[in-house]
Symmetry: C2
Subunit: 380 residues, 2 copies
């Protein structure tokens, strides 16, 4: 099986991640932050180290501002609903995932206003359109760092600057870029950063992260045992406890830390260059095929390693099915939980066949995909 | 290290659980329910099997009513806040964990009324007190199946009957009993059942479950990609998708399924009998020690395998510290995130030293604990 579904979750993971998950369960599988015995302390330490490592990667000064969640969707919900109240206005783009659009649409029912900035057919966003949409009651801008459909990289630096200038909070959804592209919460003026632990960070599924800038008051949605201020019937205000009730996913979080270790050892630049190289080569070869339509920027320096295509007017799921059954190539077809993005690029009916490339993919695998697509083209 | 902190999380886990987590990550670590390729389908199947296995254990007819969450705290928050609205009344007990009491206290701010039924000094609840507290606007009764402080088993059958008779919904927090004590959602008239995956079910941390009875309208709090109805900007209504947005914890959930397999193979009766035997023996020996005060029913048939004690007037954390440092015995001291339970049993200031026994504990380990306590008693 050749795996080109890394935008859904990266696979495989580095050996160190498997080891970290297993060793955490076997060697100190206690509940962190509750009891004071050796195993519990060791579990607590491993979570703190993970906070430190993640902080380092995104230039976050205080590791206690790192909240561990179950996935990036939970992080986005927490950030969006924790910031916005009735009467507030939020700006986002037409290339967002449903994990951004659905919470915003749900908030409209309680009186939150929203503006969705239309992106170009290649998914590109003009930052000036964001600036022009800002109103007096604009509280938040939410932007994906790269589209999960076309890979299109969004101008987060420019938008971050606009947000700062205008006194608007800035939430970045880094689901497709964290661990591969440089993100600096200080330089990029990011107030809230939502991350999956199991994509570019190479950790296991069941892990997500939300960075909350110090001093921001984000409402919490869960209360429960935090192992702190146990005597009180109200949720403690201190971070990260306020947002982390109940037993955390200790093995999963240790796995994320091991993923970050791998990234730091390999070098994020090397990871990105490898993915860029494969993506560029893939786009180049696909461009030669008459029946293949490629979406997005078609430029590996302007898109994350996500390439959406269609073959003629064939249904995208049919092509994905053939790739799986005949060629043993795993891709994802359809709308990728991002219907507005597909409307933006004109594929709402057909969907696209999405190849998402990871660090463990090889040039040989790209060649196999190219040959498979050529083959399919010749038969239809 | 002798581990007596199983009420926080069971440790170790069965070998099959470690294998399931590792194999899921290594062999089919794809994103379930999204793509249609072989690995994704395999991941999806493993989650469906887990739903089926958990359903079987609690006599749940439709596995799609099983919602996977991050922990039991998330399950309890979803159930409590998903059911209660302004003007509703909820009844609970003074033995509850903060994962029940804190969400209820938070709801008071939006106009939910609550009654907390006072339990006896041994943690026991008189079901008639629940019946008497029911008002016209009572929507929900929330009750732990067994206290995490004293182990006291609550009369869920009787309360379930009262709830059904009075047309009130019944939510059971089975954090301390699931996987060890028989729970039958039909016979026990349970409408909502909150479970941790990582305690008696023997799965890894990062897993929780909420069973929602068919037909109940529980509000959801997260929206996002569900892999279903991707074309819509609103959260799908169907279960489990409505409550499971974003990438699930596939390895963790597979681990829970392996935990349930282990329980079914060993026989839940055998597991309970083993824990009862050790708990009974431990209580018997502790009762002979003059300086030791035992809390709760002091009867292994009336309490889960949780034994809280104090030694004279010594601070509970001091005793726990000595047990850890000198005797290599892991327990949990303090308030166990259940301050009202400690007020109920009179230990709000001192806390208790909690020994929580698991299936992998042995009689020898109980003997070591008894000797350690004797030793400590002789020195103070």
């Amino acid at each position: 099986m050749i795996y080109f579904d890394n935008a859904a979750t990266t696979f495989p993971k580095p050996q160190g991640v498997y080891d970290a998950v297993l060793n955490t369960m076997k060697d100190y599988g206690a509940n962190p932050g509750r009891s004071g015995h050796k195993l519990a302390l060791e579990a607590g330490r491993s979570i703190f180290f993970a906070r430190e490592k993640v902080s380092k990667l995104f230039n976050i000064e205080n590791p206690m501002q790192i909240i561990f969640t179950g996935n990036a969707t939970e992080s986005l919900n927490l950030a969006i609903k924790g910031i916005l109240s009735k009467g507030d206005h939020v700006i986002t783009s037409s290339m967002e995932h449903n994990s951004v659009l659905r919470p915003i649409k749900a908030l409209e029912k309680i009186g939150v206003e929203s503006t969705i900035i239309q992106c170009g057919e290649d998914g590109c966003l003009n930052p000036e359109n964001i600036r022009n949409a800002i109103r007096e009651n604009t509280k938040l801008i939410v932007l994906t760092h790269a589209s999960n459909v076309t890979g299109t990289i969004m101008p987060i630096k420019e938008v971050g600057k606009i947000a700062k200038d205008q006194g608007v909070l800035f939430l970045v959804d880094a689901a497709q870029t964290a661990g591969v592209y440089e993100i600096d919460v200080v330089k990029d003026n990011i107030d809230l950063l939502a991350l999956p632990g199991h994509k570019g960070l190479l950790g296991p599924q069941g892990t997500g992260i939300l960075y909350i800038k110090e001093g921001l008051n984000v409402k919490h949605f869960k209360e429960g045992g935090t192992g702190s201020k146990s005597e009180e019937l109200f949720q403690p205000e201190m971070l990260p406890d306020r947002y982390e009730s109940g037993t955390p996913n200790t093995p999963g979080i240790a796995g994320v830390a091991a993923g970050v270790d791998f990234i730091l050892n390999e070098g994020m630049d090397n990871i990105r260059k490898h993915e860029e190289l494969l993506t560029g080569y893939f786009i180049e070869e696909l461009s030669k095929m008459e029946k293949v339509k490629i979406y997005g920027p078609k430029d590996s320096t302007k898109q994350a390693s996500v390439v959406s295509i269609n073959i003629g007017n064939e249904d995208s799921s049919e092509i994905a099915y053939i790739l799986d059954k005949v060629y043993n190539i795993a891709v994802r077809s359809g709308l990728h939980c991002a219907p507005m993005a597909h409307k933006t690029i004109g594929t709402f009916e057909q969907g696209t066949v999405r190849f998402s490339i990871g660090y463990f993919n090889t040039r040989n695998e790209i060649d196999e995909a190219i040959n498979a697509i050529k083959d399919i083209c010749s038969q239809i």
